[in-house]
């Protein structure tokens, strides 16, 4: 099958013998399979992130050139200001983001768990329909979903307009105005599928006979929940929470649309500084806080789950 003596392109196509030689040793096989992605990730993931860490520790002079001297000026700038510590833009934004992300996660958990349990138990046709309804917004563009919420909220949004028309209220309800609560609703809706699917996968693997055994032994529903179901599905709960908390922390589009200038989450803050001022030092330093938070969240999570549980990789 060796046609390397033929004309032009044919000689450059590897022959069967060549291919087999390429895969001959285990080392080669490993190199060919793991290698390309490794190089790609090293160049386009590890390097940029490392660079960002570095940038957070240097400063930029007048002509936008980097001054390669280590400095903590960027970090200091984050906390600068005349107002009390908790009122400074960065700190306020950071704490608010943590709070919103936490509430969103809890809300997702509380709403998704019963549904996931039902789905895991019922299966069949109901399952398909429900999954379709859940996946539909999930596969729709994030931007479209955020936009839909934008239309719903607000003094003249769909919710208030409908309520006014039906006559339940006489003036737009503040709750449905843009702001923190709107953002929480939007984020919960956005990340609900992640929580639901993770919980479902976990509950699907639950051995229901254990639950039955507990009931047979006399445990009440809540006791069964607390002592049997929750501990067994804890990895799923942790993973799901991680998949909601982390993106919610760095969210940009949803707070931008549903906050309408009244709320500034950390994602928005960073985006502003970079896209308008290209303040790379400030932006990098601020981003480091998020990155470190995420790392901490993961370390905590990994006490309860192994990386296999996270996604079967």
């Amino acid at each position: 099958m060796n046609e390397s003596s033929e004309s032009g392109w044919r000689s450059s196509v590897p022959s069967r013998a060549d291919l087999m030689a390429a895969f001959a040793t285990r080392r080669r096989r490993l190199g060919i399979t793991a290698g390309p992605a490794l190089i790609w990730l090293a160049l386009l993931l590890a390097a940029p992130l490392t660079f960002m860490v570095t940038v957070s520790f240097v400063s930029v002079d007048q002509s936008y050139q980097i001054v390669w001297e280590p400095t903590t000026a960027n970090y200091a700038a984050l906390f600068a200001g005349d107002t009390p510590l908790l009122q400074r833009a960065f700190v306020k934004s950071l704490l608010l983001s943590y709070a919103i992300a936490a509430v969103t996660t809890i809300l997702c958990l509380v709403l998704a768990f019963p549904l996931a349990y039902l789905l895991a138990r019922k299966g069949g046709r109901t399952f398909k329909v429900v999954i379709f309804l859940v996946l539909l917004p999930f596969f729709t563009m994030y931007l479209v979903r955020a936009y839909s919420w934008y239309l719903m909220f607000g003094p003249s949004g769909v919710i208030n307009a409908t309520l006014l028309r039906i006559g339940i209220v006489n003036s737009p309800i503040g709750l449905f105005n843009y702001g923190v609560s709107a953002i929480i609703v939007g984020l919960t809706h956005a990340y609900f599928p992640y929580m639901l699917l993770t919980l479902y996968a976990s509950l699907d693997g639950l051995d229901y006979s254990l639950v039955e055994a507990a009931r047979d032994l006399g445990a009440s529903r809540s006791e069964t929940l607390r002592d049997v179901i929750l501990p067994l599905t804890l990895p799923g709960i942790i993973s799901g929470s991680l998949f909601v908390f982390v993106p919610a922390l760095g969210a940009f589009v949803t707070p931008e649309f549903l906050g309408q200038g009244k709320v500034l989450m950390i994602g928005q803050l960073i985006k502003d500084r970079i896209s308008s001022l290209y303040a790379v030092g400030y932006g990098s330093a601020a981003s480091m806080f998020i990155v470190v938070s995420i790392v901490i969240a993961f370390v905590v999570a990994f006490r309860y789950v192994s990386i296999e549980d996270l996604g079967g990789v």
Partner: protein, 241 residues
């Protein structure tokens, strides 16, 4: 939540009180919008191809071989999916612009999205490979097939659906991404960034039209996919991201 997802649909229809197709007409005639749609599709396709090729190879390494730093490799592979878009976008922008001196544009988006799509391919393909029955391969080898034949005739056909699903996921994630593309796009425009400007500067009818259109297309595709293939297992087992 389900009720709300229905509500999501109707809210984009509300401004259409008087049924008219004029908005749709205007939307599709908007050449700027259409060209950013084309750009989105091109970016998604190229980046998904890169992500799939790299991801399938890497999955084979992860699923089959023990090697040092395997856990670290796996974590690195999943990382792009976990990092918030703002952080990743900024890191890439600074990297391209300040360190490499590259002008952001079409190719920077492609590169960024190829990294972003990689974890999805990894998750789906590795989870399929874990359930792959290697005795099939051994049987083929016993019957006299060489490694190349074994791969082409046994391994690949079994993996093909998973590879396809991985490609699709990567494609969709690239297509719908906004924040990462926003940072690294330079002057290029993808559909999401055009839509974002539309929202900011308030051309509502077109936004409604394109949004509803997208929802409709997605709904149809999803229904077809769910009936034709085993989408649910990939999503529910492979940790739908």
């Amino acid at each position: 939540m389900m009720v709300l997802s229905f509500a999501v649909n109707s809210s984009t229809l509300f401004p259409f009180e008087g049924i008219t197709l004029a908005h749709y007409g205007a939307t599709f005639a908007d050449s700027g919008l259409m060209s950013s749609l084309a750009t989105s599709m091109a970016v998604a396709t190229v980046s998904a191809i890169i992500a799939t090729v790299l991801g399938v190879l890497a999955s084979m390494a992860l699923a089959r071989y023990e090697f040092p730093y395997r856990e670290l490799y796996r974590t690195l592979g999943i990382l792009p999916m976990i990092i918030p878009g703002v952080i990743f976008g900024i890191a890439m922008l600074i990297y391209f612009r300040t360190l490499l001196g590259v002008v952001p544009g079409f190719w920077t988006i492609v590169l960024t999205h190829s990294v972003y799509g990689l974890p999805f391919v990894l998750l789906i393909v590795t989870s399929r490979m874990y359930t792959f029955d290697e005795s099939l391969e051994e049987a083929a080898r016993d019957l006299g097939a060489d490694p190349v034949e074994t791969f082409v005739d046994v391994t690949f056909p079994v993996l093909a659906p998973a590879i396809g699903a991985g490609f699709l996921f990567a494609w969709i994630r690239s297509f719908e991404d906004f924040i990462r593309a926003f940072f690294v796009r330079g002057t290029a425009n993808v559909l999401t960034t055009s839509m974002f400007s539309m929202i900011k500067y308030g051309t509502a009818p077109k936004m409604n039209a394109i949004s509803t259109f997208i929802v409709f297309v997605v709904a149809v595709l999803l229904a077809v996919a769910m009936n034709a293939g085993d989408v649910t297992s990939y999503v529910a087992d492979g940790d739908g991201e």
